[in-house]
Amino acid sequence: MNFNATLIGQMITFAVFVWFCMKYVWPPLMAALEERKTRIADGLAAAERGKKDLELAKSRASEDLKEAKQQAQEIIAQAQKRASEIVDDAKGKAEQEAEKIKTAASADIEQEINAAREQLRKQVAAIAVAGAEKIIEREIDAEAHSKVLEELATQI
C-alpha cells in the first residue's frame, strides 16, 4: 500500500464525473421518467373515462330502446283503436243507409199500393157501373150519378 498522487488524481476525476453526471445525465433522465409516469397516468385515466362513457352510452341506448318499444306499443294500440273505431263507424253508417233504403222502399211500396188501390177502386167503380147498367139495362146518366158512385167506390 503505497500512496501517491493517484489519490489526488482520483479525487479530481471523481469530482468531475459527479459534476458531469449531476449536470448532464441525471436531470434529463429523471425528467424523461417523470414525464413518462404522468403520460401513463393520463392514459390510464383516459381509459377509465372511456370505460365510464361507454357504460353511460350503453345504459342510455338501452333506455332509448325501451322508450322506443313503449312508443311503438302505444302507436300500435292507438292504430288498433282507430281501426276498430273506423269499422264501427262504417258499420253504423251502413246500418243507417240500409234503414234509409228500407224506409224509401216501404214508402214506394205504400205509394204503389195506394195507386193500385185507387186504380182498383176506379175499376170497381167502372165494373159496378157496368154491372148496374147491365142490371138496369139502360144507360144511366153517368154524370148525374157519378157522385153516388164515388161514394160507393170509397166504401169498397
Binding site: A5, L7, L29, L33
Partner: protein, 277 residues
C-alpha cells in the same frame, strides 16, 4: 513473460505501472521496487488511474447517450437498462436520504456504476491484459479498485462532502456540539471529542478499506488460482473449475461492494444533513 518463482509472479501482478521522477532526476516508468520508493508521493499509477478514467468515461458516455435522446415512448434496449438503474438508484436515495439535495442522487449513481465497472475488471482473466500490454508496460494492474489510491480517492471525496454538508446544515457550532457533547455529559467533552472524532474518521477509512480489501482479496485468489495452471494438467483442470466458481461468486461480490459503497455514502450524507442529532 517468465517468472523465477510463484512469489515473483504474485508480486509482479500486484505492482502498479507507476510514472514519476526517478532518483537521477529523469521522468519515467518505475521498473523496480526501488524506483517506486524513490519516486515518493508525486508519482501516478498509470494503469489504475487510466482504467479508472476509461471506465468512468465509458459510464458517462453510455448514460449521456440515453439522456440526450431520452424519450417518453416505449423504452428499448439500452435505454431500458439505463432507466432500470436510474430508478433503482432513485429508490435507494429516496429511501435513505431525507433531504432534498440535487447532488446526492447523481453522486450515488456515479459511485454505483463506476465502482461496479472498476470491480468488474476483476472478471477479466488476470493474465490476459498484462500479457497483451507486456511489450509496452512492465507492470499492469487492470482492476482500479484493488489500488488503495483509487478507493481512498473516492472515500475522501465523499468525506469532504460529509464535512461540507455537516457545516452547511448543522453550522460550525452544531457540528462541534455533535462531536463534543455526545455520548457523555458536556464536562467530559475531550473524551467525547476523541470518541466522535474516531467515529468520524472511521467513515472514509472503512469505506475505502472495505472496497479495497474485498477487491484485493478477490484479485489475490484469482492470481493464486492462475498459479495452479502451471502445476500439471490435473491441478490445472481443478484450477479451471475453481476459477469458474470463484468468478461466478465474484459477480455477487463486485455488485454487493458497489452497492454497499453507494448506500453508505447516502447514509453518511443523510446523517450529515440532519439538523438535529
Amino acid at each position: 513473460m517468465s517468472y523465477e518463482s510463484s512469489g515473483e509472479y504474485i508480486k509482479h501482478h500486484l505492482t502498479n505501472l507507476t510514472f514519476g521522477q526517478k532518483a537521477d532526476g529523469s521522468w519515467g516508468i518505475a521498473h523496480s521496487a526501488q524506483d517506486l520508493q524513490e519516486m515518493g508521493f508525486w508519482a501516478i499509477n498509470l494503469d489504475t488511474m487510466g482504467f479508472s478514467i476509461l471506465l468512468g468515461v465509458l459510464f458517462l458516455w453510455g448514460f449521456r447517450r440515453v439522456a440526450k435522446k431520452a424519450s417518453t415512448d416505449v423504452p428499448s434496449g439500452w435505454q431500458n437498462f439505463v432507466e432500470m438503474i436510474i430508478e433503482f438508484i432513485d429508490e435507494s436515495v429516496r429511501g435513505s436520504y431525507s433531504g432534498t439535495s440535487k447532488l446526492v442522487a447523481p453522486l450515488a449513481l456515479t459511485i454505483f456504476v463506476w465502482v461496479f465497472l472498476m470491480n468488474a475488471m476483476d472478471l477479466i482473466a488476470v493474465d490476459l491484459v498484462p500479457w497483451l500490454a507486456s511489450p509496452i508496460a512492465p507492470y499492469l494492474k487492470i482492476v482500479p479498485s484493488t489500488d488503495p489510491n483509487i478507493t481512498f480517492g473516492l472515500s475522501l471525496t465523499v468525506f469532504a462532502l460529509v464535512l461540507y454538508y455537516s457545516f452547511k446544515f448543522k453550522g460550525p457550532g452544531g457540528f462541534f456540539a455533535e462531536l463534543a457533547f455526545h455520548p457523555f455529559p458536556k464536562w467530559m467533552f475531550p473524551i467525547n471529542l476523541v470518541l466522535e472524532g474516531v467515529t468520524l474518521i472511521a467513515k472514509p477509512v472503512s469505506l475505502a478499506l472495505r472496497l479495497f480489501g474485498n477487491m484485493y482479496a478477490g484479485e489475490m485468489i484469482f492470481i493464486l488460482i492462475a498459479l495452479m495452471y502451471s502445476g500439471g494438467w490435473a491441478l490445472g483442470l481443478f484450477g479451471g473449475f475453481l476459477q469458474l466458481g470463484w468468478a461466478i461468486f465474484h459477480i455477487l461480490i463486485i455488485t454487493l461492494q458497489a452497492f454497499i459503497f453507494m448506500t453508505l455514502t447516502i447514509v453518511y450524507l443523510d446523517m450529515a444533513s440532519q439538523e438535529t442529532h
